[in-house]
Structures are given as C-alpha cells and as structure tokens.
Subunit: 758 residues, 2 copies
C-alpha cells in the first residue's frame, strides 16, 4: 500500500514531466520552422502563410527573440480568450462542444470536492477505526477515506446524505448542460449555410428488381412514394478497387517527387532504384524513368477501372443518395418507413459528404445483424481476456511480485526511491501502453459492424472503448490488484459476491488511481500538446518531398480530436470522481487539476491545430450524457456494496432510491432532449425552406446537388461522364412512363404517381 510519500514522489515526477513537456512545447512552437506543426489550422483557413518574406535565413527557422521564451505559458490565456460563438465558427460545433465535456467535469467536481472536504473528510479523519486494528498497515490516505469509519457507526449517515447531494448536483448540472447543448445544436443547424445533406437521404437495401436497374428502381420508387418532393438521386458505385488504384498511384508519385528532388539537388548522378522486394533486390534502374513508367501504367489501369465501374451495372450498389426539392421532403423521407418490409428501403439522414464511409453502404440487413452479433461476442472476448496481461504486469509491479519473479533485483528494490517509483508509477504506465494499442482494433470492429458514416463509427468505437475501460481499467484494476494483494484469500469465492468485493476494495485502490490520474491525466495531456509524431513526420516530409507550397500544405497533419479514444478516457475520470467522491474524497483535487489542465490544452489545440474531418453538430452528446449516468449508477451500486459490509444496515436500503431516481432522470432527459440529436423537426425545415425561397428564388437546386454525393475518387476527374450517366437515369423516368405504365404502375400501386395528388 502506497503511502503519502509515495504519492508525493509520483506527483513530483509527473508534475516535472508535465512541466518538461510544456517547456519543450514553448520552445518548439516559437520556431518558425515548426509553425505548420503547431498552427496548421490557421494555414488551412488561409489566414497564416509560410514565413517566406524578407529577413535572414536563420530567422526563418529559429526564433532568436529571447523575450518570447520568458512568456512561455502565455499560450494559456490566449487559448481561453476566444469567445465561444467565435470558437464555434472557427472550429465547428463538434470541437466547441467537445471541450465543454471538460467544463462539465469542473462544474460537477469543484462543488463536490468543496462539500466533501468540508464535511466528509473531517468525519472520516476522526473515525479512528484503523488505529484500533492491530497488524494492519495503512497510510494517511486511508485515514481520509471511509475505511477509517468503524463498522455500524452513525457517521455513515453523513456519507448517505452526501451521496444524495452529490447525485442531485450531478443530475442538475447534467440537465443544464444537455439543455445548453441542445440549444447550441438547434441554433447551429438553423443558422448553418445550405448543405447537400440537408436535402438528402441515404437509402439502403434497395431490393433487386428483375426488370430495372438500381437507379431506375430508386427513381421510380421515390417518384411514386414522394410525389412532388423527390428531385434527384445518385447511385453508389462500388469504387473500392478504383480507390485502391488511386491510392497506389499517389504513393508512387511521392516516390517520383522524392527522386526528382534528389536529382535536382545533385544533378551529376541520376538516382537509381532496385525493382524487386521493396527496392532491396533486383536490377538497379533509373528511378525517375521507372516511376514515370509505373505511374503511366497505373493511370491506364485506373482509367480502365473507372470505365468499368461506370459502365458495369454490377458495380452499382443497392444504395443511393436521394435528394428532395425541400428540406421538408428530406426530413419526411428520413423519418418515415417506406416499405411494409422494414428491412428494405431503409432511409436515414445522409451524412455530410465528407462524413460518408463509402465501403459500408451496401451491406444487406440480415448480414448486418449477424456481423453485429459476431462483433458483440468478439468485443466480449476482447474485453474480458485482455485482462490477463494487465493482471500479470500489475502483479509484477507489486514489490512482493518483483521479489518473487526477479530475486536478483532485491537489493535495488530496497532503495527507497526505486521502491516508491515502482509502486507509484509502474502500474499506471503499464496500463497506458496497453490502451494505446486498442482504438485501432475497436475502430476496425466498428467498421465490420457496417456503420455508414465516420461520425457513427467514432461514436460506436467510443462505446466499445468505454466498455473496455470500465471492465479492464476500472474493475480490472480493482479486482485483480486486490486479489493479488490479499494473497488468494478469496479466489474461491463465488461470482455473486463480486459487487461486495469491489465495494470493499475501492478505498484500498485510491492510491493506484491517483497515480494513474497523474500519469495519464497530467503528463499525458502535456505530452499531447507537444505533438511529437506529427512534428517528426512533418520534418521528414518537408525535407524529402516538399517542392511547392501545396506540397507543404499536404505535409501538414493537423489531426483531429479523436473522439473514439479520447472521450472514453475522459469518462474514466468522471467514473473515478463519482465513485471516490463519497469514499475517498482526496482523489477529487487530482481530477479537478486534470479537467482544468485538459480544458486549456484542448481549447488551444482546437483553435490552433486540429482540423475535424466532418461536422456532426455535436450529435455525440447523448453518448457523453449516458456515460456519466452509467458512472453515477456504478458509483451508487458500489457504495451500497461497501456500506452493506460496514454493518450500516439502517442506511443501506435508503441508497436503493438513488439508482431508481438516476435512471428516471436519464429517461426524462432522453425523451426531452435526444430527439433534437437524431431527428430534424419539420417546423425548422419549413422555416429554412421558406427563407431560402424568399432570398434565392432562382436557385438551381438540381445543379447544386448533382455531384454532392459522388464517391471521392470521381471528384476532379471524369465527373462529366458520371453526370451524364445520372441524367440518363433520370431521363428514364418520364420516357418509361409512357410505354411501361401498367407493370410499373401495378408494382408501386399507382400509375407511376402521375395521377396522385396530395
């Protein structure tokens, strides 16, 4: 069990490393050569440009003005200065709402910490239960926790009342925040400019038709069933192969540029390259000629593939983007069921074009449910069998464990500083390394599940990651750690005792989580700001590939918030804060430091660095909300488990009402706010439509929407051809109507809608 001294050492290490990162950042960001690494957002916005103006060469790369170094922390107030409306228009609503999560943490935990320190800490400190027990090692931290209150004491009423107060405060803040963010989202949607996705619906699972192509079928179906509203549609091409060729060509072009640059610098010798096995074997040939030839060959292949995709009816997937004449028409189509078979003609709001995940658009319904079952089972195994290595590492990070496994280290361990380091630092860092590997696996799993937009993929991955963190980091650390500490004392206990076991172990694990918060929350956030990987990659690219300003633009990697992995990590802090707020309040200040530091850092990052791939209008907020609710319920259940072992039998049943109220609160919030995040109200659609009609009466919406949902590989290339093809399809509707009215009419139950009047 770590003492206050151990914690102090760990804190010192982490604070020092955080300061180290911040100093490094302060120095690096002031160098003009790193400008594109630390301020890429401004370059992408076109506000900032490369320092190519007059001045000596060194000043272009290194900042020699010493005064700027002294104010090395002044990026912090700068980050806080930008007002929120400006932040939204600068970085988008997603980012602006994302950093509000940190603010939410502060709003919840600052009052909680204040109350806990004025009421619970004195109650615990004077409990005096630990001092009476012999043969028990305990630290001062334990004296601050609920462990110090003797079993059956009346002091537990204080914890009970505080549990209620904390729950109500958290709910109140959550409610207020949900309301604010709903208003922000609705305002954002109402004021945003015309975008293709406002008029467009994604239709999936178009049933095959023996007489018609997918495009004709879609056209007819919506002409009939949304008569007067349907405008145009774009089928989805299976261009995955083509996209691969384009990607390959791009890679070869990079190599060509690299060798051309090399040749320019050293014109005496033409560069050569070996052609086989990654350039290691084979005959050396002239590199520039070789890559030029290769690219030419690929260009031909690409053109052929492009031809095939557009011409081959089998390359058209049974999905389409259907656009309507008004936002009202799109809102209606997205929210209604089209066919009596609910697995066909599935409609949903189209994601914005940047947000579409193209490869997943054509998965049939049954396959989708089977994929999800398999992924659910896989997630289960991933979540529960990933625990084994963590448990192993943590058992090593235990002094006794190390002594057993590696006896030769015994003398080293006896040094006090090393011992403190092992106990305070290693368990946290071991966990951290495991967690870095995970998001990619989870994202792949979400892709297999078949979600159609990047935003949904990120949200789903975040849910998976949250489950993982909950089971492995939170529960895993508590149970496994305790199991090793208590020397197999309850290995043979039944699984049904787990809630109690966890409840009892929680106060003992406080020190572990404090070190974890310092490693992951303090030093980790400080490391985030230094952007080591993008820094290195940018300079490598800048040296070897960049010729023009446009190349330099492409060499920048602004990155993004990475909702899928960063949000669940924040949620761990909510969980820890809520669980320990009643049990061991000493943890709360560490969490508050994390939230405020992270708020400043990420506000700086979204202003200067991150460039979001898409804008979903804060549609992730319901996920954030429910996870805080889950954390509350877990904290309440664990408190009940803990209290029931403390013989506080009068007070424990009173805790039962808390989860009930919390769940009710969640249901209320869900029905009150969530529709604003998934549906688009008709009233708002009508308002926007009317306004647009009044201000732009001659808008050619058809032209505007024509190519909005083209697969990205077609953009910039042979658009004309595709457009032509689209128009062909549309032309089929009126022509078909004349000579095929009976069969088509009977299939859709009308004479192709021409006589329907709504």
């Amino acid at each position: 069990m770590a003492s206050l001294g151990d914690i102090g050492l760990a804190a010192a290490i982490n604070i020092l490393s955080a300061i180290g990162f911040l100093l490094a950042f302060a120095v690096l960001r002031l160098q003009p050569i790193n400008d594109r690494v630390y301020f890429p957002k401004w370059y992408l916005k076109g506000i900032r440009s490369s320092p190519t103006h007059s001045g000596n060469l060194i000043k272009k790369f290194v900042n020699l003005d010493c005064g700027t170094y002294l104010r090395f922390l002044n990026w912090m107030p700068a980050a806080l200065k930008m007002p929120e409306p400006e932040l939204i228009s600068h970085a988008g609503l997603d980012s602006a709402v994302y950093i509000r999560i940190y603010l939410l943490g502060l709003k919840i935990f600052v009052p909680l910490a204040f109350l806990a320190f004025t009421i619970l800490v004195p109650v615990n400190w004077t409990g005096g239960s630990l001092e009476q027990i012999k043969n028990l090692t305990f630290s001062n931290i334990d004296k601050l926790s609920i462990s110090n209150v003797p079993a059956g004491s009346d002091r537990f009423w204080a914890h009970l009342v505080m549990a209620y107060v904390f729950t109500f405060w958290t709910c109140y803040i959550l409610y207020k925040e949900y309301k604010i963010i709903t208003t922000m989202r609705l305002h954002f949607l109402a004021t945003e400019n015309r975008r293709a996705d406002q008029f467009t619906v994604l239709v999936r699972n178009v049933p095959p038709d023996p007489d018609e192509s997918v495009s004709e079928h879609v056209g007819h179906f919506f002409t009939v069933n949304h008569h007067g509203h349907y405008l145009i549609h774009q089928v989805v091409y299976n261009a995955n192969q083509l996209a691969k060729l384009v990607e390959e060509k791009k890679g070869l072009q990079n190599w060509l540029v690299y060798y051309q640059n090399k040749y320019t610098r050293n014109p005496t010798k033409r560069p050569t390259v070996k052609t086989k096995f990654f350039g290691l074997f084979g005959k050396a040939v002239d590199a520039i000629d070789y890559y030029t030839a290769e690219i030419e060959q690929l260009t031909t292949a690409e053109a052929a593939e492009r031809e095939r995709v557009i011409g081959d009816p089998k390359a058209i997937m049974p999905a389409a983007f259907v656009s309507f004449k008004s936002r009202w028409g799109a809102a209606v189509c997205a929210q209604t069921q089209q066919s009596s078979n609910p697995t066909l003609w599935l409609t949903e709001w189209a994601p914005e074009p940047r947000d579409v995940y193209w490869s997943n658009l054509a998965i049939p319904f049954v396959e989708l449910t089977i994929r999800r079952l398999i992924m659910a089972v896989a997630l289960f195994f991933l979540t529960f069998f990933f625990m084994i290595p963590i448990a192993f590492v943590q058992s090593l990070a235990n002094i006794e464990g190390i002594k057993k496994v590696a006896p030769f280290l015994r003398s080293l361990i006896k040094v006090k500083v090393v011992k403190s380091f092992i106990q305070g630092f290693l368990p946290g860092i071991a966990l951290k390394i495991f967690l870095i590997l995970l998001p990619m696996i989870l994202m792949t799993m979400s892709k297999v599940e078949g979600f159609t937009s990047l935003s949904k993929l990120e949200r789903r991955s975040a849910s998976k990651y949250y489950l993982f963190i909950l089971v492995n980091v939170f529960l895993g650390s508590i149970i496994t750690g305790t199991a090793f500490e208590q020397l197999n004392s309850f290995i043979h206990q039944s699984a049904s005792d787990i809630p109690k076991v966890i409840g009892v172990s929680i106060p003992m694990k406080a020190t572990f989580f404090i070190t974890y918060i310092m490693v992951d929350g303090w030093a980790g956030i400080a490391a985030e700001i230094i952007r080591l990987k993008p820094l290195i990659v940018f300079h490598l690219k800048n040296t070897f590939l960049v010729k023009t300003d446009q190349d330099r633009e492409q060499a920048m990697d602004p990155g993004s918030l990475g909702f899928a992995s960063s949000e669940p990590r924040i949620q761990l802090y909510f969980l820890l804060g809520l669980v320990y707020s009643v049990v061991t309040p000493i943890l709360l200040p560490f969490i508050i430091v994390f939230f405020s530091f992270a708020y400043v850092v990420f506000r700086h990052q979204i202003i200067n660095v991150y460039h979001q791939q898409y804008e979903s209008g804060a549609s992730f907020w319901p996920d954030v909300h429910i996870r805080v609710i889950i954390a509350m319920i877990i904290s309440q259940l664990l408190l009940m488990g803990l209290m029931s072992t403390k013989e506080a039998s009068q007070s424990t049943p009173l805790l039962l009402a808390l989860p009930v109220l919390t769940i009710w609160f969640h249901i209320y919030c869900k029905s009150r706010f969530e529709p604003a995040f998934v549906k688009f109200p008709l009233q708002d659609a009508v308002v926007k439509d009317t306004l647009e009609k009044a201000t732009e009466p001659n808008l050619d919406l058809k032209a505007y929407l024509q190519d909005a949902y083209l697969h990205p590989v077609f953009h910039g290339g042979e658009i004309e051809q595709v457009t032509l093809n689209e128009e062909d399809n549309n032309a089929l509707v009126p022509t078909k109507r004349s000579h095929r009215s009976t069969p088509v009419g009977s299939k859709y139950g009308s004479e192709v809608g021409s006589e329907i009047e709504f």
Copy 2:
C-alpha cells in the same frame, strides 16, 4: 412434499369440477332464455334474434329436446370448424391473433414434451441419486426430475444439449409465428375499409399561445408545416364532467323504468321511494314522479354543461385530432417530429375513435414523466409487498402450519383425503383469489400514467400484471414456500445467493405448480365458459329493467378477451413450461392440456360471445413475443443456477451462450418485425390512397371526417352546434391571413404557408 397420490387426487377434483362446469354449460347454453348470455355476438351482429316466434311459452325459456343434451360436447368441434380468414372478419384480427397464443404454446410444448419424455425422463429416472440419501422424503415425481441425477454426473450433458435444442426450437417457432402475424396484420391493414384513424393524427401538448385559441393555433401550425396535406382538425373538449352527468342520468332512467315496470305489473299501488341515503331514510314519495322530476332536472343541468363546454375556451384541452387529405399525409405527420422542442406538438397515430381514452388527452409532458416515475415506484411496492399475504396463506396451507395455527383441526387433518385436499388444492386457490383483485388496480395505475388509448392501457396493464405474476406467483411461490419448508435454514443468507436458491428450489416446487395449473388452467378455463356473472346480471336486468328488444340488447354483457389480465396468465404457463422443460418434464403434459383446452374454449368464446371494444390489428404481438423471450432467459439462468450447484462444472459455462443468443434473436426479431406494428409504411399508404382516388373520385373526405373524433357524449346530441363551431375555427385561417399575416407569418416562419410550394 406432495406425492403422486396427492397429485392424482387434485387432478381428479379439478377434472371433475371442469367436467361439472362443462355439463352446466352444456345445459345452460341450450336454454333459449340464456341465448343472449351465451351467443351475444350473433345478436350484436344482427344474425340472431330473440326467439319470439310462435311456439309455446315454456319452449321459449327451456329446451325440452333431450337429444341435444346428449351431444353436450359438440360445441367443441363447432368452435374449431370456422376457418381463420372467416374468424378474422367475424371477430376481428385482435381476437384471431389472441387465440394463436394458445396455438403457439402447443407448437412449442408438444415437441418439447415429446423430446423430454424420450430423452430426459429416462436419464433422470435411472439417475438413482435420491434413493441413496437417507432421511429424505421424496415422491415419484422427484424421481422423474433432475434432482434424481447425482452431482457431478455426466448425465448432465443430456440436459445441456436439450437446453440448446429447446431454445432453438422455441426461437424457430417464435420467429415463424412473428412472421405469420406480421403478414396477417399487414394484409388486414391493407384490405380494411376506410376508417377515420387512417387519415388522422393525435396531436398533444399544443403550446399555449397568447393571441390565438387552441383550435386556431393547431389550424395555423399544420397549414404551415403540412401545407397541401392538412385537411381539418377537431379539438378535444374536456367533457369529463358532462360525461359524468350523462352517466348519472342513465342510472336514474334505469330506476324510472324499474318502477314503471313495477307499476305496470301491479297497477293498484303506485310504487314509492325514500329520498335520502340510498332510499333508506327520508319521506316516502311517489317513485315515478320523483325520478321523472330528477331526470328533468339533470337534463337541464346537462344542457347547461354542454353549453359551457362548447362555449368556454378553457374547456378545450391542448390536444387535437388532425386529419389529412391522404393516408400519406397522416403517415408522414405521425412519424415525424414537428417542433424543435420534442415535448411540444407530439404527434402519433390517432387510435380509432372507439379506442380513445378521452380523459388522458391533456396531460403535459413533464407531469407525464413524473406520473410514470410515481407509478413505477408504486408498482415496485405493489409487486414486492403483495408477497406478504401470499406467503402467510401458503404457510397456513401447509399441514404443519395448520396444526400450529389451529390445533383444533388436528383430527380433521389426519383424514387422508382432507390432507391431500389441503396439500393439493389450497395453495393454488389462495393464490387465485389474490389474483382476481389485481387487474383493476393495475388498470387504474396505467390510467394515471396517461396513455391515450384503451389498447395501450390494456397492453401496459398486461406488462405490469406480468411483472407481478413473475415476482409473486413464480418467484414468490418458489422462495417463500421453500423458506417455510426448510424451516428458516437460509433466512440469514445474503441476497446475492438468490439465483442459486431459486435454481435449487425449482425441482421441489414442481408439484405445487402442477396443482396450480390444474386449478387455474383446467378448472378456471372451464369456469370461464359458463360465464356465471354475466348470466346472473343478465337475468336480473331482464326481470326488472327490460321492456323493449333494445333494452334487452343493452342488458347483454358480451364482455371481451380482457388482454390486460388474461395474456399475462398465459405467459405464466409459457414460463413454467420453459423452466420445467429441462428440470421436471412431467409438468409439460399438464401445460399441453391447458393450452389445447383453452384454445378450444376461447375459440368458442370469441366466435359466440366476446365483443371487442376496439380493433388494434394485433398490435399487442410484440409484447407477447418479448415475454416468451423473457421466460426463455429466466429458464436459462435458473438452469445455470441449478447446474452450478450440481457440480457440473464442465457444462455450466457452456450454458452462458444461450442467453446471449436468445437476446440477439430478440433484437433481430424486433428490428425485423416490430416496425410493422408501430409504423405505417408510406408505400402502403400511397397504394391505398391511389386505389381510393380511382374508385371513389368524388369522395367528400371532409364530411366523412368531420365528426369522427367527437367526444362520445356529444354523439347523437347537439352535433350541429359543435360542427358549426369547428367550421368557425377553420374559417378563421383564411380570414386571419389577410389582416394578420405578418405576426403569424413570422411565428411560423412563412406567410402562413400561402406561398410555400413543395
């Protein structure tokens, strides 16, 4: 523990009483005087009429044809003869699908019983574990159950495999049935005649407006936001007070008729009545004059109230029935969100007019969620504290319990038949009496929760009742009974051991549930067919109140299926069948007898007796489906609990996959079929609209819908006045448009929709 002999006696008693009921039914139903009790449906359909034709007087009341008595069971084949399509058109889809629940039971349990008896019974019987234990009383039934298999035996593999087979078979049948019923529902909806609810949407939570009445506000809102589709709307009057007056008047009229009849039969003496305290005290006055005067007074009061309701704007509730020009328009409005505040302008499909529960139409959203929380808590207490009386009665029904409580009965108990009777019969009947009281309470709770249609109220009450049966009848009987039997042996055990305790107790409780099935399932169903209460009430009314054929029509009480209380009771049999199918298969034949007997009885009843108040198109099926799924999961968990105590450690973890697969199966079925029960696809709407337009081009839909959703108290009375009022409101829309276009226009974001073109 009841032996096979006890069970035999109980079976004999129940079979005899069932036969008694059937004989009584056979005699009673053949008497012409009871014709309206046993065949009311045919009278309501107008196919059958009173036996007033020639013939002697006695024959009018008593059937003297002895031949008909001999064939006393021939109603059974008659009930089975009617083919299903005819049954649907005769009794409605709700009833036809309802009796398919019994058929579903047969489809599931007949193969299960066959497999269990060929495989599991021999495995159990030869287990021989019970015979080895000394000092243990056990019956032959226990020898047929899993209790007879020794702990750690390899024989448990048979149970494991069978658990999988049973689960897959049940899922297969459930899937097939869901598919059939979805098809039936879609076919039913597609072929059904024009009904007002197809065009109408119920709008609730209309926000108050300072400038406009509710009616104007609704009219404007839908004119703007469903331009070109909106047709007409009817506001909802708060006519609860008026309905009360009408009801009161009807009661007084009944008394008037009663005294008039009395006077007609005995014209020498005018009947008198005392006026105070239910006719017990006060001055005796002439009854006919008194009631005539009272009725006149009420008529005046009613007219005044009617005037007030129609005139007073406060009597108009913030809800309305909005009708559209086409089914498409209604389908769109019902499925979309109207306002950016998701708690305002809530739209849903209007229930059909008969189905509307008028008093609940005006509850605000926040109040609604609070009411639901309170009712959820109330349901919890009702469910868990209702157990105390049942436990008390069951402890009495135990031989030892009776000896203790009533020592004077000791000699009586020693008689073997009495003892068997107490053990085999009393616990069941005690439970049954409790259950009769319950549905009314639960229905009241559902009404407080604020559901707006009778069908939903019934479905919600059924859910509550199911929870109650699950906790009290099923779990309560298992735990409490065992607790008393095992003499406080595990009263001090922790709550977390409950799953195991239940699993272990299940085989011991088989005999109790067998007697319960016989009392509730066999004799209870037979008692259902005799319709004792309607029989008595009808004859009382017939004697005292009936003067004309129309009166006789009103005296009939055909009743209805009573989904709220009868469906959860069927579900108990599914639960018992699934839980015991692996553990004690001997229970299955009893359940099969119940399902087949009940199927015949209820098929007879829905053909000849029940008259459903509304037709919901089998919208209750998802509830039935999920409850069978819940029963499956419970049976799987209990089997796991039971197996884990049997030291079958290799096989228990393999059972874990079962609940996972079952839940996935449910999710699949839900997404595949449930939308057909809650949404109306646009394609089908277009088909019906087009067809109607072609066949009835001159239909005046406005006139058809004008009074469809009038509060029932207005029907037949002053409709003209209300209609006029409606037209006034509609007229306001165009007139207002001219002189108030700017403020109204800005509120709805357009110039009252006059310039919007979709």
